[in-house]
Symmetry: C2
Subunit: 150 residues, 2 copies
DNA sequence: TATATTTAAGACAATTAACTCTTAAATAAG
DNA sequence: CTTATTTAAGAGTTAATTGTCTTAAATATA
């Protein structure tokens, strides 16, 4: 799998939040229900993102999570790196520690291109822009397609 | 990680075998020693590849593993699919079962391109050709670069 | 102030991936 | 035929990921 489950959940939640108003705090319970992700598991993932100040939280009734300005301007790549770490974009495709242009593995050169393609896919647009396009095109954000962009 | 550890070990062993003569059976012990991979673990992985007739084995003294003709003509993609399965090349990047061109997720279109790039990297050349290039360019096949193409 | 709601934090459990060990079967060589 | 070598098969272990549960802290509202 390209991205871990934690990461995929985090990306879906990020896009969901980006579709909401700047100010509003969205409760994790609502998000986990709408996106069909385990509540406690999602809570953990979002804590990582708030720790990186891509999101901010507020406790108590009316509390929840929202994207920070940094988060709205962030790309999916920023979210991926915050959750899965940068290894996918730094490591050798064959897992060889010493691999580099000086002593490349058989995949080294083409992996650099492919990796750039993955990176490009994830950093082409910001979360705000993804949400805008999401609303326009009614992109899928759930398995059963029941999600409604508002 | 793009590929599982099993898969990466399998690819390195495949390339190693491709660098050897067609006829010779190479013992798993030799391979695991040279490539610094756990013997029993590597055995398991190679059993998957022999089950797919990408390799063939021979028991007893002078026994070992070698690539079949099919295996020599196979690409890394064939090896990856034999070990990790085809999911990386069939599934939605956000893990959404219903995702498709009819009801795409926000990443759907760009993931199709990116996936093609990964697939292209893995199927550009056959194992025989990789081994030939490996010998010419002395590509790395180990962490410490100690591997010697003969 | 008391209560209900919500995130924070961390322990705990289940599942999967990664790795190890043991025994059996095949076979070459003495 | 006996022994040593090697793969096959499967059980068992460890580690990482994924998912659950409980308690504490913050805070809105009555």
């Amino acid at each position: 799998m390209l991205l871990s489950k934690s990461c995929v959940y985090g990306l879906r939640a990020s896009i969901y939040l980006a579709s909401k108003s700047k100010e509003e705090f969205i409760s994790i319970k609502e998000m986990s229900g709408t996106l069909d992700i385990s509540f406690h598991f999602l809570t953990k993932i979002l804590q990582q993102l708030t720790a990186e100040s891509l999101m901010e939280s507020y406790k108590g009734p009316k509390g929840g999570i929202r994207l920070t300005t940094k988060g709205r301007d962030a790309t999916l790549l920023d979210m991926v790196i915050a959750i899965d770490g940068p290894e996918l974009f730094t490591q050798c495709a064959l897992g060889l520690p010493g691999c580099g242009s000086a002593a490349p593995c058989p995949l080294h050169e083409s992996w650099i291109d492919t990796r750039a393609s993955i990176q490009g896919m994830l950093e082409r647009t910001t979360l705000s822009e993804i949400a805008k396009e999401g609303k326009q095109n009614k992109f899928r954000l759930m398995a059963d397609g029941s999600f409604n962009w508002n």
